[in-house]
């Protein structure tokens, strides 16, 4: 009986360590739509970046720049407009993952 309880305890701790049980959205900034163009004429593109943080120890936030570069690489000869960048965190046990999800419209010249 005792062994079962210990197993259940370890299982719960392991599960909560490995998976995010809560999410929080920090902000969703939206850029302007420029140049004026029909929304249907643009190609929707998206990029993601993330960073795993244990107990707040993080030395940089370059995952944002990486996502931004990734977005630009999908639209090499056009304008990326109407960019929505959702910044959110996925919480785990004494750890969390910061995410950024950028969505935009690639409008060709």
């Amino acid at each position: 009986m005792m062994t079962k309880k210990i197993f259940l305890f370890i299982f719960t701790i392991t599960l909560s360590t490995l998976i995010g049980c809560t999410y929080s959205v920090h902000q969703v900034p939206l850029s302007d739509f420029r140049p004026y163009a029909d929304a249907k004429s643009g190609k929707p593109i998206e990029a993601r970046g993330s960073q795993f943080v244990v107990m707040g120890f993080a030395q940089e936030t370059s995952y944002v720049e990486n996502a931004y570069k990734q977005l630009q690489n999908q639209c090499t000869d056009g304008t990326v407009t109407g960019i929505a960048a959702k910044s959110y965190s996925e919480h785990g046990f004494f750890s969390w993952t910061n995410h950024i999800h950028m969505q935009g419209l690639c409008v060709q010249r």
């Binding site: 920090h26 140049p35 004026y36 931004y68 990326v80 960019i83």
Partner: protein, 133 residues
Amino acid sequence: MKFSFLGVLLVVLSGCVSLNSVSLTSVPADRSKRVAAASERFIFMGFNFDNDYVNSITSDLKTQCPNGTVSGVLTKSESINYFLFIFWKSRVSASGYCVPGKMASANDIIRKRKPTDDGSDPAPAETTEPAVQ
């Protein structure tokens, strides 16, 4: 003893970065000239009497692009927390692209609008907008 001292020193001096906010604007097609600016302030126990250090970023970007438009600006606001959150550093950084030429102003766009027969608000006219192309 030496190792423990080094360990403490490392903990005190290394900062943990957290991202406060991100903002961005439309990315231009012409990304040949990159511009960047950053500003930071060291804050002890929360004593901070103004946020003027942020103002220099705009002028820095303007200086790097005197005859063009800065577009595709990615702005990050970060906090670098040092030992036990007693002191920390606030950093704001912005990077974008300098596109030669002037951007069409809102007035230019309105002037280009053609009035409709029934007096209703016309749809925006197509603009070339050379700065962001």
